[in-house]
Symmetry: C2
Subunit: 200 residues, 2 copies
Amino acid sequence: MTKPATRIQKRNQAAILSAGLDIFSQYGFRGSTLDQIADAAGLSKPNLLYYFSSKEAIHAALLDRLLADWLDPLQALDAQGDPVREILAYAKRKLALSKDYPRESRLFANEILQGAPRIESILRHDLKALVDEKAAVIQGWADAGKIAPVDPYHLIFSIWALTQHYADFDVQVRAVLGDRAPYDGAAVFLDMLYRKLLTP
Amino acid sequence: MTKPATRIQKRNQAAILSAGLDIFSQYGFRGSTLDQIADAAGLSKPNLLYYFSSKEAIHAALLDRLLADWLDPLQALDAQGDPVREILAYAKRKLALSKDYPRESRLFANEILQGAPRIESILRHDLKALVDEKAAVIQGWADAGKIAPVDPYHLIFSIWALTQHYADFDVQVRAVLGDRAPYDGAAVFLDMLYRKLLTP
DNA sequence: TCTTGGTTTGACCAGATGGTCAAAAGGACG
DNA sequence: CGTCCTTTTGACCATCTGGTCAAACCAAGA
């Protein structure tokens, strides 16, 4: 029996979550302050705490929303599909996530860097189970000779690393590339890399 | 005419830097406190401030020490050597850095995530110059047909991403792999990946 | 218009945080 | 032992930080 959120509630909650994402993704949980977030959201601190009961609550809401979207692309890897195409498509989806949701990627990176205190159990259970399942699929493809015999776990790690790098290390990438756009070259490079790696 | 550091100075400065590395690499600059660092170093806060004039000073000393070691492996990439062997050796050196100095890797990651306020100019100048130089070398190898025609910048990014991932996302990697050792499989995987990618 | 419930705010609080300082304690060396 | 310089500490401070609360403000329906 939860009452429907009012127009103002929706607007302010969205503003707070966006502001929280800005701040938390840059400074991590401990390094972020409610004043910063309230400022970024255009609200006073007590007003912010009217919508979320604590700093923790904002962070938790963001992590919740993140984790679903984060595991989704791997979930979609289809054991019945064409192996190389499936893996390339997964890499492409992850790269698109980095491009379109870099703040979410950095929020996740910050959480992991701090030792993942709030999501370690999710990593240990949900994430591990999902990766185990998909690794078995990839191992099956390798055993059947449909792709080159690669360690499926490190293959998945490599996709995470290569795609998230462009969001997490954005500042460094741009410092090196100057005014050239990162993501076009990245897409071409990743396509070639995985095509050559996976061809038996 | 700087006086030579005493035995006690050396011991305490080393303890402070190690403690600072522990804390800063986990929580970032803003999220770390002097009390935490003093605790980890086994000193009182005023005593800590007797050796380093401020929180900033500890952090700056760590970044200084880091950056030299960080650029070194790429510097060693030899235009006269065998192309594939040189690039593989670079990847191997970076992977060894991740394995042996994970705290340094995470310190760097934290700094970049926060927008690299303290090292952006170094990235823009020193790092960019070094990468430009080595990218030209790799481009030359590609043009000469000695390696496959890959974008040298994204090749270098990929080495950074793939190696640092094991240090920066250590918690996640271990959560997925369970008790299996990450670095042995990683070395084999990276070797195969770059061998297949670079073979013309 | 009045009422009612959601919304916003200023003032406030306890504890944390970066940093200071004078004084005490320790070590090395004649 | 006495001296001098280094090292350590307890007490302290201003500011920041997460969070509370009562009161004021506003929007919308009766």
